[in-house]
C-alpha cells in the first residue's frame, strides 16, 4: 500500500478546504486511452447498493464526526488531481528498475484494486479516522464477486481490505509507506455479502517502521472473524507531504 490512498485523500481534502463539495476534486483529469470518462465519484458516500445496515453504520459514524474527533475519509477509484503526479514521480524514482518495465500507455488505464468493481459487486467500504486514538474503523460490505469457498469471502479479499485499512492508518501517520509484512489469522470464515467492521490501530512507530494491528468483527462486535498485524516502512521520511495536517484540517468546525 503506497501513496495512492494519500493522493486520494489529498485530492478530496483540497476540495473541502477550497469549499468545493467533497464528491468532486479540482485538478486535471487523467487522460485515458479508452473513451471512458474519468469518474471522480467519492465511493465512500452512500450509494444504492449499500444495504440498510451499512447506511445505519455510516450515519452513526458521521454523527461521531460532528465534534471533530472522527474524520470521514473519502475514496476515489482513480487519481484525478495534480498531486497524483508528485506521487507517481516519487514512486518511479524510488523503484527505477521496476519503473522501466511499466507500460506507460497502460499506466493511465489503472484503477485502484479496491475500486475496480461495479457498484455492489466487490468492495464497498467507508473509513473513519480518529486522530487522538490513532485508529481507523472501516465499515466493509463485500459483494458476490469476492467469493472463495462457496458462500464465503476469499481469504485474499479479506487480506486486501485489511491491507487497505492498516495501510491508510500507516499513511496518515507516516506519509508515503510500503507494506513490509502482513500476518493474518483467520478465526472464522466470513459469510459472503455480509457487513463487517475492520478496526485498525497504530501500535508503535520505531524510526521508519510503523506497526499497525487490526481485527475484523461482526457489526455487533460479538463475533471475531480475523486478527492481523502489519509492518509498514516509510519510504522517505523527509517527504511527508504533511498528510496529517491536511487530514486534521479537513474536519468541519465545531
Amino acid at each position: 500500500m503506497l501513496g495512492r490512498c494519500a493522493a486520494r485523500a489529498l485530492g478530496a481534502l483540497r476540495g473541502l478546504r477550497e469549499g468545493a463539495p467533497p464528491a468532486r476534486s479540482p485538478g486535471p483529469s487523467r487522460r485515458l486511452l479508452s473513451s471512458e470518462k474519468v469518474s471522480e465519484k467519492d465511493h465512500s458516500l452512500p450509494k444504492p447498493c449499500w444495504s440498510k445496515d451499512m447506511r445505519l453504520l455510516f450515519d452513526q459514524f458521521m454523527k461521531k464526526c460532528e465534534d471533530g474527533s472522527w474524520i470521514h475519509l473519502p475514496s476515489y477509484e482513480d487519481i484525478a488531481t495534480q498531486r497524483s503526479q508528485d506521487f507517481s514521480t516519487f514512486i518511479h524514482a524510488y523503484f527505477p528498475t521496476a519503473s522501466e518495465q511499466i507500460n506507460k500507455e497502460k499506466l493511465s488505464q489503472g484503477r485502484i484494486f479496491t475500486r475496480s468493481f461495479e457498484d455492489g459487486l466487490g468492495f464497498e467500504y467507508v473509513m473513519f479516522y480518529n486522530d487522538a486514538e490513532k485508529r481507523i474503523v472501516c465499515v466493509f460490505q463485500g459483494g458476490p464477486h469476492l467469493q472463495g469457498m462457496p458462500g464465503f469471502f476469499h481469504g485474499g479479499a479479506i487480506a486486501t481490505m485489511i491491507d487497505a485499512t492498516v495501510g491508510m492508518n500507516a499513511i496518515v501517520s507516516g506519509g508515503i509507506v510500503m507494506t513490509a509484512n502482513l500476518n493474518i489469522n483467520f478465526k472464522r470464515p466470513i459469510p459472503l455479502c455480509s457487513i463487517v467492521l475492520i478496526n485498525s490501530q497504530l501500535d508503535k512507530i520505531e524510526g521508519r517502521k510503523l506497526l499497525v494491528s487490526c481485527n475484523v468483527q461482526s457489526v455487533d462486535e460479538k463475533i471475531l472473524y480475523t486478527e492481523a498485524t502489519s509492518l509498514f516502512i516509510k519510504l522517505n521520511p523527509e517527504k511527508e507531504f504533511h498528510i496529517k495536517e491536511l487530514v486534521l484540517n479537513s474536519a468541519p468546525p465545531a
Binding site: 475496480s116 464477486h145 476469499h154 463475533i223
Partner: protein, 244 residues
C-alpha cells in the same frame, strides 16, 4: 453463521459427538484416511469434458514472458508429472457433486457469485494467471500477470492483489494435496513491487501436514529469479467435502 472457530473444528474432530451437543461442525474420524485420494480429487477438479469456461488459457493480454513460461510448463505436463489446473468462474464449478460440510454451507446458491480471481472479466484487466500442480512433489507454480485494475501505487500491483493470488494458489494446492479447505493463517513479507503487466512467478510447496493442518510456503519472484517480490507462508485447515 458459524458459532465456533477453526480451533474448535480441529478439536471436535478428535472427539465423538457428545449427546445433546449441537452438531454445528462436521465430526471427522481421524482413524480413517481422508475421504478422497489425491487422484480422485485431481480428476474431479480437472474434468476431461466440461461446459465451464477455463480462464487459465493464453489470451492476447499475456506478455511474451508469460506465454513462453506457460508453454514450458505445458511441455512438463507431458513428461514431468505436472498438471495444468483449469480455472472456472467459481469454486462451485470445481467441486461439482460435492458441497461444504453440513453447518458450513450457509448461503444459498447464487449464480451471481464469482471467485475474486476471475471477477474482472475483460482480458488483461485483472488476475491473468495459470496454475500448474505437481502431485508427487506437492508443489505448485502460478504464473501471475497483474492487470491495471489491480493497482495500488500507480503502475504497480496492490499488495492485496498479491495476497489474493498467494492465498488462491495456496488454496488450490492445499485442496489437491490434502483436502485443505479454509485459510487459517496467511503471512506475507513484501520485498519489491510488481509492475502491472509483468510476469510474477509464485512457487508454492507443501512443507508438512499434521494435526489436520497443511503448512505451505511460497516465494514470488521474476522468472529469472533475480528479483524477489515476496515470501509467504500459509496454513490451511483440512476438512472433507460431502456428497451433495
Amino acid at each position: 453463521m458459524m458459532r465456533r472457530g477453526f480451533q474448535a473444528a480441529a478439536t471436535l474432530s478428535r472427539l465423538r459427538a457428545l449427546p445433546g451437543a449441537p452438531r454445528i461442525l462436521p465430526i471427522l474420524n481421524p482413524a480413517a484416511a481422508f475421504g478422497s485420494s489425491i487422484d480422485s480429487r485431481i480428476s474431479r477438479f480437472c474434468p476431461k469434458k466440461t461446459d465451464f469456461k477455463d480462464y487459465a488459457l493464453p489470451n492476447a493480454s499475456w506478455c511474451p514472458d508469460m506465454l513462453s513460461l506457460y508453454q514450458e510448463f505445458l511441455e512438463k505436463t507431458k513428461t514431468d508429472g505436472w498438471i495444468k489446473l483449469p480455472s472456472f468462474a467459481s469454486n462451485r464449478e470445481h467441486i461439482q457433486g460435492l458441497k461444504l460440510p453440513t453447518g458450513l454451507a450457509v448461503t444459498p446458491d447464487n449464480s451471481d457469485c464469482r471467485i475474486i480471481t476471475r471477477s474482472l472479466q475483460v482480458e488483461g484487466q485483472g488476475y491473468e494467471h495459470a496454475i500448474f500442480f505437481n502431485p508427487s512433489e506437492k508443489k505448485s507454480v502460478c504464473l501471475f500477470q497483474p492487470g491495471p485494475y489491480l493497482e495500488g501505487a500507480p503502475g504497480f500491483a496492490h499488495g492485496g492483489s498479491l495476497a489474493t493470488m498467494t492465498d488462491e494458489t495456496f488454496s488450490k494446492t492445499a485442496y489437491l494435496a490434502g483436502e485443505g479447505l479454509f485459510t487459517l493463517s496467511l503471512s506475507i513479507r513484501f520485498k519489491n513491487l510488481i509492475p502491472v503487466g509483468s510476469l510474477a512467478v509464485l512457487n508454492v510447496s507443501v512443507d508438512k501436514i499434521e494435526d489436520q493442518k497443511l503448512y505451505m510456503s511460497c516465494i514470488t519472484q521474476t522468472r529469472d529469479q533475480k528479483t524477489v517480490y515476496a515470501k509467504s507462508s500459509g496454513v490451511f485447515l483440512q476438512l472433507q467435502l460431502e456428497q451433495e
